[in-house]
């Protein structure tokens, strides 16, 4: 007997599995999968201004820094400003989907591709953002590779304000609507990587980025 059969067999025996209760259990399972009942959620004011304010506040609690600009065209200049202020190189890897922005005019050398170990700055967008916890939701695809938000020491993320949703549940609904099925990797990111493994003292910058900077585009 295969281990699969052995394990499932013992579970079935313990549950007194028979045709009738199996049918009932299947029915309950299908109901759970189609109803997708949501649990209790902390109240989040869904007015656009309030969403933006909460997202910003919670992001800062998670140690991200935040800049807000009016239009997408202002993003490259905002990124350049941040890099100069932080004395970081003006060279970056970005999601291929972001190469349409005019980085060169802002004095930046930006390559749209997957990330490499040597990349110091990674620029991404996000699928949407969650106000409840100040969290970015990134979905992997050829135009939005996962490692760009992971390997570089600095992660800069562009967030469009209308894409800020109240709760994670809203993010799932958006993904179902716009993507159909889940991409290979959905990464919820809340601030720079960190560890508390030595004497429970929090240190920013464990294996992922040391710093996360958000450029929020109002429109």
């Amino acid at each position: 007997m295969s281990s699969r059969e052995d394990i499932l067999g013992r579970v079935r025996a313990r549950l007194n599995r028979g045709a009738t209760n199996a049918a009932l259990a299947r029915e309950q399972m299908l109901a759970a999968l189609s109803q997708r009942t949501q649990g209790p959620k902390p109240a989040v004011d869904a007015a656009p201004e309030a969403l933006l304010a909460r997202f910003r506040e919670k992001s800062e609690v998670m140690a991200s820094t935040v800049d807000i600009v009016a239009t997408e065209a202002e993003v490259p200049a905002a990124v350049a400003r941040y890099l100069v202020a932080m004395k970081l190189p003006k060279t970056a890897v970005a999601w291929p989907s972001l190469t349409t922005l005019d980085w060169a005019t802002a004095g930046l050398t930006v390559e749209g591709r997957g990330a490499r170990d040597a990349d110091l700055v990674g620029i991404t967008g996000c699928f949407c953002a969650v106000a409840e916890t100040g969290t970015l939701m990134l979905c992997s695809s050829p135009g939005t590779p996962a490692a760009v938000s992971l390997l570089p020491e600095t992660h800069i993320a562009i967030v469009r304000a209308p894409r800020i949703v109240p709760h994670m549940e809203d993010a799932w609904n958006l993904a179902r609507k716009e993507l159909g099925s889940l991409p290979r990797a959905v990464n919820f990111i809340s601030g720079p990587s960190r560890t508390g493994d030595i004497e429970q003292t929090i240190v920013l910058g464990a294996h992922g980025p040391y710093r996360v900077h958000l450029v929020i585009v109002k429109e």
Partner: protein, 470 residues
Amino acid sequence: MESKSMHFKANASAKLADVVLQGNLKNAKGKFVTARAKAITELDDFEATRDAAVAIRNKVIDNLDIWLETFERKAEDTGAKVLWAKDGAEVCRLVVEIARKHGVKKVTKSKSMLSEEAGLNQALEAAGVQPVETDLGEYILQIDDNDPPSHIIAPAVHKSLDDVANLFHKVHGTPRKTEIPALTREAREVLREHFLSAEMGMSGGNFLVAETGSVALVTNEGNGRMVTTLPRVHVVVTGIEKVIPTLEDLSTLMRLLPRSATGQSISNYFSILTGTKRPGDHDGPEHLYFVLVDSGRADVVASDFHEMLRCIRCGACMNHCPVYQTIGGHAYGWVYPGPMGSVLTPLYTGLDKALDLPHAATLCNQCGVVCPVKIPLPELLRKLREKQTEQGMRPFTERLGLRLWAWVAQKPKLYALGAKIGARYLKWLAGDSDRIRLLPAAPEWSKGRDFPAPQGKTFREMYAARKGQP
């Protein structure tokens, strides 16, 4: 990992005498407990959220076979392979086979308790594959001659900054550093090389989502993302009880897990991984395997202990346990310490292999109060004690003593007489003091505490004396 739970008493005594450990435990306790207390107030209705979490976990565990089949089907639809392992030996065999098949020389691992249970690192090494632990805490333990973890969330909580500084200096051959950020950077640089060169990544799974056939991983360091993004092969080793129905359920549980574990509102990274690298993708594994492990779990389904299967491994029970806080995790002798470990170890390794663990608790119910999925841990510990007694596993003297007591207790006159003599004797023993320093009948027990002396009269005597009064 071989269980050393039979040596609980000896281990516990040694840990009590360990000054460094005692300091570290005190330090960690305060941080986790305070942060959790604050974080749960962010939820408008913590109790209702807990109830929802209980319902989610029960829904699956009460029909585990059906949910496992569903998860398996969905996962295979995404291009993953689902394998099943009855026990640790089979986990090792399957993972080594996968490594061989894909020509793997090095495996980077993000934390997996199942891999500890199975002793997977030793098996990989024996097969010529280098396992590298990448969670900072686990890495520290691995390079310290495979020191076992002592906490499920903070595995190296028993090590001090000094310990780590010495260890890195010795193992990495670098100048000794004393700042935590510098040590963290050193580990980052060493491990980055491994992340980039490993052909295979291994992770546990915080949850398996039946709706989508995905694994959900919660990390702060980003190592979980590394090992599931960079290598060609990703192997998930996790228990069969980890399935949950939907992404909505995942959101509910995620409101509780980081808050209960480290007191964070959310962990830095929360990844939901579905299938293999898609056409045109720049990163992600080409092969994805799930190893679903039984190792004693199937037999807990629908048993007296079924509620234990709800556990989401947050560690809150040990952070709040007075016994764990005093002796640390190593004394428990196996992978899982604290109250949850005292229930899991006897269930998964055998009641007779962990005789003291069900007794390693004061039944104060701090654990039950904080458990996000409302597992009645003290009640389960009590049931384990009952089972031990039923199966004649308690020591002869204990059984004889209880039998004697039962016999006397059924004879009221004799009982009254015995109580009277006992109370007088204890009063005499105490002398002028109201405490007894050393109880001759229980010298071990009274070594660390005083026994309050009775006032000289028994309840029955006082009751009889008062009866006549108005």
